[in-house]
Symmetry: C2
């Protein structure tokens, strides 16, 4: 990797922001700027819970910049939902004021919502080379060809409206990660993005502490910093330690086949595996679509060096002896459709796991995925493989700073105000306490949530107005609000089952023709079905259908007539779906 | 607690087993005993995955004893299922051969299935005092009054058919836990149950290592031992360490209200909290039904000493100043209906959480519950409370032996054969490796799974016949097989939604009267509904209904006609429920 010169701002590349269509002031914009021109506003959008992770907006007068546009993967309480993206209605209403979307790094939780929100916000995007390459791939999949992508380097400064944004190299579990130092009319806002400090990275530079110290010395108004690992003492292990472990794995398994699962986007990890494969005279087969795509993209931009003749097609792994091949695979989280999961359950025809395989899971478990990944590990053991995973060996390095690194950061930045971001509420609390323990005053620290605005005039800081923010679900072809009735229905049926009660009535005479009761997802005896039919027939027999307003009213009556009976016989509250047919 | 004398078998109490109704030999029994009289068989029943945890059977000739009868709580992939119990069809078929059900301790995963399986197996139950007290409570809830409960003490030996079972005191996170040394015609089988070694327990005795050493010296044929914590080096922290932490919490929060969540069944932990409350002049309020019930039951049998006037009703906590009360609550796993979860979400009217509250979660997170419990912790912080939990302080001691303790056990027992139990497959593998590292031969160690039989004639050990075992779901009022179509339907609908297609046909003319399409859990535009109706109308228009065999055949045709259209418009595969009505 070429060394960037980042020692002083005067040496950095300047990129002029495009005019962005709506640069002429609208009436709305003018009134906004008059009203709150003196306050800098930080708005926390998106995701489910973790502020400053998926999406943040910085606003001053008529200008807005957006930091990141990530997705989250749905929880167990969202059956059938594919992905969750930030609700950007506030930004859509203020579309003309957005000067740019600045991306800190290329992980899904920071870029994954772009294909969806670009339909509503047409703003230029800024990011480093690998970040933009990954974004391009996502946009292409969704057939979006007109995004305005602007490549920056660590050290660059971009002017966006009244803001100037400096990109600063940090370490993380993906290459090309940057922190942002945003100079605003009120003072400097420093947003770390996701970061760690790796003094011995295997590629790239150590986080640019010199530049950060310089910025800190000049004075930072507000720091927003990654809180993920604030509960863990000490410092993260270096990627070099992982390198040593991986080298040992290659040495100790010299006669066995190696299968290494890792995040496709961790190109430095990928590079280490490729380098070791060369050293130990093994070929490499990539397995899993995202692994192949990302390796390909990273090679094209020079982030990944792949020697000629190293890579073989996954279809051909069986032509190599066990000690001649390394399979590099997706599936570190036990994702059901991933290559590793299918290998473990014997459903992956390209690779059959056996007793001469050593499987290395070079990643940590994302909270919530424990059962899935341990299920995969158990299955691999059942097939006779050896498995090496994080609780056994230092085979993965976290990408998020622990307490020791956070202290280094706070001591260099010495911000006037601090808002902890990127973590659950408990992490934000602990991070606030850490800042206090280092001498900050409690009144200068704020904890915010999604939908909060943090406001400062440079002298004090406060929680300002709440605004509309939250999640949208992407599900099949649609995008829904977070309180979707569709989702509520699915959850109801999945817990308690469904009873369909069909009533056919004759159009004119309003006389009952037929009743049918069908259950799904709940057991009803024939007797119970007959009794339910009876209840509905009785109801209709005792009702003057000419006095019933419409089918909805009759449906409601049918529901009420069945509710108690169903609870009594099934000890559940199944969803009751009445269908009234006029025949 | 009274000290039991357990030094030698000659000093132990002997309880004669009742004759158990079916003691006369049936033809079936005779043939079984002739066929395999010389092999001892260990059968692993029950649960989802972890052998030797929920239920195990030991079988020799015509005699069977059952160890434990536990439930597991359902995973996310079992929507609407209340609990999961072992499938005991094998035992039900061999009901007359069962000489007793021996329970190692009173946790749900060891006793919770009893109310259900006793409907099929009518065998006497053996357990220590607290264990039986908890079982009695469960049976009473299910209105089972005729169970044959036999109370034993650590040190007792019970003769059950050809087996004699010695109960040996172990440490665990519940009082009254025992290991079992089962003398069989082939040799001694030692089953640890759930155990740890606590050299400084706060109540009760240290695990009876002297007796275990003696048994080991005489010779153990087969060891089955708890593998849960085999991946963790060293030894578990002692309950005394937790005591010190709790004492410090009381000291440091002398002006604040204390809310301590713990497992109700951990009566030693409960005792410590009560003792500290007395020492620090606070009253105690129990919150949560199981907390009240278990404390009550434990007090009655003397396992819990509750001084007079210590306990106040949870309704009255607001009459006490913050420094005068400790609330002891359920909800350590973030269970949705538990007292702590409702406090955290502000839905518990008896206790309103505020900034002068310190909440202590004195338990570890059971894998899979991470998101729920951290959600509760985040909400408590949001309400301004301080929260102390395991990743911050030694506020809980695991009940399962770590590697150091397992090595002590193996070195004392020195078994001929070893079958690791109670753990995921990965833990069993590691435990097998640990035994090998201590000198056991690989061929003397077996890893088994649910449905496996381990057979030994005393000279060698092997995996014998597979038998029918697995899980049953208890759901509302019914008990279903694990491959329940009901559950499959629920999961299908919760992922992809449901389309009901009702077709009304006239009885005689077999002419179409009406078609209705209704969707639930999936979004369909009006146009898509109209098109779907059209498809079904066309299908029926082009079908000679007189040639259609029955409604099922017509239903199948309707399903096939809609499938592709629905996938194309929704990118999902909703369940299609055709209802054919003859009107």
């Amino acid at each position: 990797m070429k060394k960037e010169k980042t020692a002083g701002a005067e040496k950095t590349v300047k990129i002029k922001a495009p005019e962005n269509g709506g640069a002429r002031k609208t009436a709305k914009e003018k009134s906004v700027s008059a009203k709150s021109a003196k306050n800098l506003k930080i708005r926390f959008l998106g995701g489910v819970g973790e502020i400053g992770k998926n999406m943040t907006a910085i606003e001053y007068g008529k200008d807005i910049i957006v930091i990141d546009a990530g997705l989250i993967f749905p929880g167990d309480n969202m059956p059938g939902v594919d992905i969750v993206i930030p609700d950007v209605s506030y930004l859509a209403e203020n579309k003309a004021r957005i000067r740019g979307i600045v991306i800190t790094h290329g992980h899904e939780d920071h870029i994954g919502a772009l294909p969806y929100i670009l339909r509503e916000l047409d703003a230029p995007i800024y990011g480093t080379k690998l970040t933009l390459t990954l974004i391009e791939g996502k946009l292409k999949e969704q057939k979006i060809n007109d995004a305005k992508l602007n490549c920056v380097k660590a050290g660059s400064v971009v002017k966006l409206g009244c803001f100037s944004v400096e990109f600063i190299n940090v370490n993380h579990s993906i290459a090309g990660a940057v922190a942002l130092s945003v100079t605003t009319p009120v003072g400097v806002v420093f947003h770390t993005g996701d970061f760690k400090i790796d003094y011995t990275p295997v590629r790239g530079e150590t986080m640019d502490l010199a530049r950060i110290a310089e910025i800190g010395k000049k004075g930072v108004l507000l720091l927003m910093a990654d809180s993920t690992n604030v509960e863990i003492d000490g410092v993260t292990i270096s990627e070099s330690v992982v390198k040593d472990t991986l080298q040992r794995v290659f040495e100790e398994n010299s006669s066995r086949r190696l299968i290494i699962a890792t995040f496709a986007s961790n190109v430095h990890r990928l590079q280490q595996i490729l380098d070791l494969a060369v050293k130990f005279c093994r070929k490499v087969a990539f397995s899993g679509r995202s692994m192949i795509n990302i390796a390909d993209a990273a090679e094209k931009i020079g982030e990944l060096k792949i020697p000629d003749d190293l890579i073989v097609d996954a279809e051909r792994v069986n032509r190599y002896k066990d000690d001649e091949i390394v399979i590099v695979s997706t599936g570190t989280q036990g994702e059901p459709m991933s290559a590793l999961t299918r290998m473990a359950s014997g459903e992956f025809n390209k690779v059959t796991i056996g007793t001469n395989d050593t499987v290395v899971i070079s990643a940590s478990v994302i909270p919530g995925n424990e059962k899935m990944i341990y299920g995969v590990i158990n299955n691999l053991y059942r097939l006779g493989a050896e498995v090496i995973y994080e609780s056994l060996e230092p085979i993965h390095a976290s990408g998020h700073a622990q307490r020791g690194e956070l202290k280094t950061l706070h001591s260099l930045i010495k911000p006037k105000f601090f808002v902890p971001v990127h973590g659950e509420y408990r992490h934000l609390k602990k991070h606030a306490a850490l800042a206090e323990s280092m001498g900050m005053k409690a009144r200068n620290i704020l904890i915010a949530e999604i939908g909060d605005t943090v406001e400062t005039d440079g002298k004090s800081i406060k929680l300002g107005e709440k605004f509309h923010a939250g999640s949208k679900f992407v599900d099949g072809v649609g995008i829904d609000g977070a309180d979707s009735f569709v989702l509520r229905d699915r959850k109801h049926i999945s817990e308690d089952g469904l009873i369909v009660a069909v009533v056919a009535v004759e159009e004119l005479s309003a006389q009952l023709s037929s009743v049918e009761i069908v259950s799904k997802g709940i057991v009803m005896s024939d007797a119970a079905v007959a009794e339910a039919k009876n209840i509905v027939q009785n109801l209709i027999g005792h009702t003057d259908l000419r006095k019933v307003r419409d089918e909805t009213e009759l449906g409601g009556m049918i529901k009420r007539s069945l509710k108690n009976f169903l609870f009594k016989t099934t000890k559940k509250n199944p969803m009751i779906l009445p269908i009234v047919m006029v025949v």
